[in-house]
């Protein structure tokens, strides 16, 4: 029998494949690596952010500052570009900032015992405000590296190709899978999310791990911001608004429980791709308006949460009294 751990992932992959096949039946040329490559490219930044959010959610927390971080990193990159910085240099600086900012949030959450929701909500406002401090308007990034980034691609069988943002996303995924499943830190994340008090009694360093989790989350949102800025070759102070919610949706669709402790990073990638696939399908249709993207995403999300209730209920033996 298949390990219960992989059931939600199997469900996610099945839905993705089914949606893809539905698209293939409705439209000619849909079933191609070209479409797949575009979905990957368009959603790379959301998926990268969602990978970071997966760790946070696996630990039983939440990070609402993702979208603002994306916006902040974008405008900073653009302004630094005008000051003559190489995009890679500013990216490195901003990734460090992301780690520090996330780690600070993690420290506050554990040290002051405040709910992650509130701490990262404060982070959301703080960073979005900072965006407007840096720039009120959209600022273009003109460095030639942006051109290089946009044209670097790996061809896929068929007419499709992997863009550089998709490549960065896949590399992030590989790193995330390694962290989650082959390091002590990753195991500790699952333990804290499964039962924090027990984890403490089993010797897991809660504070250090919490700080690292949110630091990692901050890194991934900053990376999402870098990719978004390079992909759009601009920085815009409102960029990334509500991306944190799409990221959370991708995590949940990917089979991770919001209560923590159960889930897989790979699931998140498929969750993000499902969201991308839905909007692509509706855009292909032409006559349906974008309201349907939200509506169908919402319905799918709802269905998944109900499904999880049943899957989890079947192997959870704790609530016996």
């Amino acid at each position: 029998m298949i390990n219960a751990k992989y059931l939600p992932l199997a469900a996610t992959v099945t839905v993705f494949v089914a949606l893809f096949l539905v698209g293939g039946m409705m439209y000619r040329n849909f079933l191609s690596t070209l479409v797949l490559g575009h979905i990957l490219a368009d959603n790379a930044f959301v998926i990268i952010a969602a990978i970071g959010a997966t760790f946070v959610i696996l630990s039983g927390g939440i990070d609402l500052s993702i979208g603002s971080m994306i916006g902040f990193v974008g405008v900073c990159m653009a302004v630094l570009d005008q000051a003559g910085w190489h995009p890679l240099a500013s990216a490195a600086l901003l990734l460090c900032f992301g780690i520090l900012f996330g780690a600070m949030q993690g420290y506050l959450i554990d040290f002051c015992e405040i709910q992650p929701f509130i701490v990262t909500l404060a982070g959301l406002f703080l960073l979005r405000g900072a965006c407007f401090m840096v720039s009120l308007d959209s600022v273009p990034i003109r460095h030639e590296f942006v051109q290089t980034f946009a044209t670097t691609r790996i061809p896929l069988p068929g007419r499709g190709f992997l863009t550089s943002s998709a490549i960065v996303m896949l590399l992030s995924l590989a790193v995330a899978i390694f962290i989650a499943h082959f390091t002590r830190f990753g195991t500790n994340i699952y333990a804290i999310g499964g039962d924090k008090e027990s984890a403490r009694l089993m010797g897991v360093p809660i504070r250090r791990t919490t700080v690292m989790i949110y630091g990692l989350g901050g890194f991934y949102s900053a990376l999402a911001g870098v990719i978004y800025a390079l992909y759009t070759s601009s920085g815009y102070p409102l960029a990334g608004s509500t991306t944190e919610l799409s990221a959370i949706a991708a995590v949940v669709l990917g089979g991770t429980l919001l209560t923590g402790g159960v889930g897989l990073v790979a699931g998140t990638v498929f969750g993000g791709m499902i969201l991308g696939l839905i909007s692509t399908l509706i855009i292909f249709h032409g006559s349906l308006n974008s309201a349907w993207i939200m509506i169908s995403s919402g319905m799918l999300l709802f269905g998944f949460i109900v499904l999880h209730r049943f899957l989890v209920g079947s192997f959870d033996l704790r609530g016996s009294s």
Partner: protein
């Protein structure tokens, strides 16, 4: 026995003291563990067992006192440090992560590996080897939560046992095991003992203490009552040591009690019970009568009271309230029928600490009335004043937040709230928990007075003297079953102790 009582004890704890805000949890407690013994640690709720164990295993720091491991002074600051020193613990209620696989649970903060990485191949080998030592053969890739509690318990023990383990603490390991699983656990404990490990066994099942324990230490109210070889202490003595006699000054008021004739039946349970919670029992509460529930921790006292109130639903038997049989009573219906319940843990279940005395008293009446019909403020003040006067609640005025009152007065507010709804049956679970001796006597007087006023009362209590002083009839519980009832002159400490200890010739 493989190890002679050594000159140097494996663990020596001396004059351990620990205070939490408002409570002195441990007051100068000593504990000595010999290598190769099973040492039972006994005591009622709040006796200080858990705190002592947490200090031994590094989960809590002591305020003062000394600790030695094999003659070396130790001061573990975390469970990890204690573990490294050879002191392993399996905390109550299996503290592992049910959502993770068995391997991962075993490897958590234990697995070897370089640069923070974990080699799962090695981790699996280690997990299998450790489980094999205890004779456990399971699929270690499945989530822990998918196994029975007994298996989870064994995994927890296997995880706790390292090569260097010298002391193993088992906190209530048998609480959720059946007889067969318990026997299996005991043979493992004997094996560990034979390896020279000092096993600390915390339990409230007395038979198990005699079955597997070599020596016994009893704590009460944060103090050491005594340590003795299991073969030197009889069961009644042991029960006596655990329950104590703090209430010497409360005299049993026979004359008053005899004057009262029991009235009509208010509440009667026939064969009421629930699988795994409480064996079916019969119990009758009459107007003008106080019925006591006696038994050790875990004997089903609270469960009995809650079941009569409908807070735990029964799956067998029937409950007759005021002559009307009810199936599946729920607290809401019970309140309507005139039954009030004062829970054991007044902080968690009874009172809203931030609300004033008046507001707390109003809660139950207001909920009985429904939220739409507001009770006029003047009526509220009047009622609060009445209650404060009637129960002698020491508070400057009715608007003081309940959290700022003393324990005894908080308990009176709980009573006031229950009484405000004008019940005819009052169920009290540990009405004197955590209050000082003076307030204690007052509460007992109050119980007698309420009874005289025509209430039917049930008092569940771990303090025998309280039951002796306050009740007309006592139902005795053991191991989640009612084992008998005594009344009138028969209600004495010794009789109750003998029944609890099982010296009535009944085979266990």
């Amino acid at each position: 026995m493989p190890a002679e009582p050594a000159a140097v004890p494996r663990i020596a704890m001396r004059a351990i003291r620990k205070a939490f805000p408002g409570v002195l949890a441990l007051d100068g407690v000593d504990l000595a563990l010999r290598p190769g013994e099973v040492h039972a640690l006994l005591g009622e709720n709040g006796a200080g067992k858990s705190t002592l164990i947490k200090i031994l295993t590094g989960a809590v720091r002591r305020d003062s006192g000394e600790m030695w491991l094999d003659g070396q002074p130790i001061d573990p600051g975390s469970t990890g440090e204690a573990q490294a020193a050879g002191i392993s613990t399996v905390f109550q209620e299996v503290n592992l992560i049910p959502t993770m696989s068995v391997t991962k649970n075993m490897a958590l903060e234990r697995a070897a590996g370089r640069f923070g990485m974990i080699s799962w191949r090695k981790a699996r080998e280690q997990a299998r080897a450790k489980l094999a030592r205890l004779g456990v053969d399971i699929d270690i890739e499945r989530p822990l939560g998918s196994f029975s509690v007994a298996v989870q318990q064994l995994v927890a023990i296997a995880r706790a046992l390292e090569d260097n383990t010298r002391v193993l603490v088992l906190d209530e390991p048998t609480a959720s095991l059946d007889a067969k699983e318990t026997t299996a656990l005991f043979s493992i404990m004997r094996e560990l003992k034979a390896r020279g490990i000092a096993v600390v066994f915390i339990t409230h099942f007395l038979e198990q203490v005699y079955e597997v324990g070599d020596r016994i230490t009893v704590l009460r109210n944060g103090r050491l009552v005594g340590t003795a070889a299991a073969s030197d202490v009889s069961r009644p003595d042991l029960v006596s040591m655990m329950i104590g006699r703090e209430l010497g000054e409360v005299e049993r008021a026979f004359s008053e009690k005899d004057a009262m004739a029991a009235g009509p039946v208010r509440l009667s349970a026939r064969g009421l019970g629930r699988k795994r919670v409480l064996e079916p029992f019969d119990l009758i509460l009459r107007q003008g009568e106080v019925v006591g529930l006696a038994g050790l921790l875990g004997s089903g006292r609270t469960e009995t009271a809650k079941m009569l109130f409908g807070a735990i639903s029964a799956d067998a038997g029937e409950l007759t309230v005021m002559g009307t049989p009810t199936r599946n009573a729920a607290p809401r219906q019970s309140l309507r029928a005139g039954i009030a319940f004062c829970p054991e843990d007044r902080k968690a279940e009874g009172l809203v600490a931030e609300l004033s005395v008046r507001e707390n008293i109003m809660l139950s009446i207001q909920s009985k009335q429904g939220w739409l019909k507001r009770i006029p403020r003047r009526r509220q003040d009047e009622l609060a004043r009445e209650m404060i006067a009637a129960l002698g609640i020491a508070t400057p005025d009715a608007e003081k937040p309940v959290g700022q009152l003393s324990g005894g007065n908080q308990q009176k507010v709980v009573l006031a709230r229950a009484l405000a709804s004008n019940p005819s049956v009052l169920l009290l679970d540990e009405p004197t928990r955590g209050i000082d001796v003076g307030a204690h006597a007052e509460i007992i007087k109050l119980i007698r007075k309420l009874c005289k006023d025509g209430l039917a009362l049930l008092v569940a209590s771990s303090e025998l003297d309280e039951l002796v002083a306050a009740t007309d009839r006592v139902a005795v519980l053991r191991d989640r079953a009612k084992i008998g009832e005594i009344s009138g002159e028969q209600i004495t400490r010794d009789n109750i102790v003998r029944m609890i200890a099982g010296d009535d010739g009944r085979a266990d």
